[in-house]
């Protein structure tokens, strides 16, 4: 079954902001309080809280019941596919390096051809066989 367009829109809108994406990435490493989440940003706590509300509405994060701190945590459900960002980043580099492997293989085969051609020049040529 397809998720509803409304839910997807909320997810989409929530992800459309770099600060909110960074907050999600932080929460992917574990729960954090509003103060902790605000720390790396040059932003007021109310501004961060506003972003957190958007993420909450989209169902991407929830508040833990734990004590007074009520740390936020990531809800993997709505965007399970996107929770392993580090893994994705790693995959991007793995893809880059695979392409680099291919480039290197090509360089090696070119070099080999050049060496073979040079060796060919110094080797006595075998007699050409006529073919009909």
């Amino acid at each position: 079954m397809k998720p509803s367009s409304y839910a997807l829109d909320a997810t989409f809108a929530a992800l459309a902001d770099p600060t909110r994406r960074a907050i999600l990435a932080r929460l992917a490493n574990g729960e954090a309080t509003v103060t902790e989440l605000a720390a790396p940003f040059d932003m007021s706590q109310p501004a961060i809280s506003k972003h957190l509300k958007v993420l909450e509405r989209a169902g991407l994060i929830t508040r833990s019941r734990q004590a007074q701190r009520r740390p936020r945590k990531l809800e993997p459900g709505p965007l399970a596919e996107a929770t392993d960002w580090i893994e994705r980043y790693r995959k991007i580099w793995e893809a880059n390096f695979k392409r680099l492997d291919a480039v290197l293989q090509e360089l090696k085969s070119k070099q080999k051809k050049t060496v073979d051609a040079l060796l060919d020049d110094v080797k006595p040529k075998p007699k050409k066989r006529r073919t009909k």
Partner: protein
């Protein structure tokens, strides 16, 4: 055949991220693939669908380099810096900064190539100005990965509304 080489990502100090990967080629060749624009353009691409229309490398100490990536929608992302040290074929030190991206600022990138039995281990050490900058950039890296899925989500949404 190239053996499946595993990439390693480690954080040896508060300010550093190190990425290590082995390649089945002598290091002179790997050095070329890292520094010749016509070769760099072919592999340093990032998420699927991105190409590198601009790749300028002035390979000398004090020289600049600049990369610009572009996706199918024409969205662009630029990055560049200055060569601080070049020891062919074993070491390159550059500064690195993204142009539009919200990142941890300028970093110092040390690339080292070690050859053993015609295989090369490439290690890239990215040093940030502070632990905070590194952590912000790691999140950013994660976010960059997310861009790809974000784009796919966009595609999915286009399908939904049709």
């Amino acid at each position: 055949m190239t053996p499946a080489a595993a990439m390693k990502v480690t954080t040896p100090t508060d300010r550093e991220v190190v990425m290590t990967r082995a390649f089945d080629a002598p290091r002179g060749m790997v050095f070329d693939a890292l520094t010749k624009p016509e070769l760099v353009k072919r592999w340093l691409l990032g998420p699927p669908g991105w190409t590198m229309p601009v790749c300028e490398i002035d390979l000398r100490v004090g020289g600049q380099y600049r990369y610009v990536w572009q996706n199918a929608d024409g969205r662009k992302m630029g990055m560049g810096g200055t060569f601080k040290e070049i020891v062919r074929p074993s070491r390159i030190v550059t500064t690195e900064a993204y142009e539009d991206y919200w990142t941890g600022g300028e970093t110092l990138v040390t690339t080292e190539l070690v050859e053993t039995r015609s295989k090369t281990t490439l290690s890239t050490t990215v040093r940030y100005a502070s632990r905070e900058a590194r952590d912000a950039a790691l999140k950013m890296g994660a976010t960059k990965g997310l861009e790809a899925s974000y784009d796919r989500l966009d595609e999915m949404l286009k399908g939904e509304t049709r």
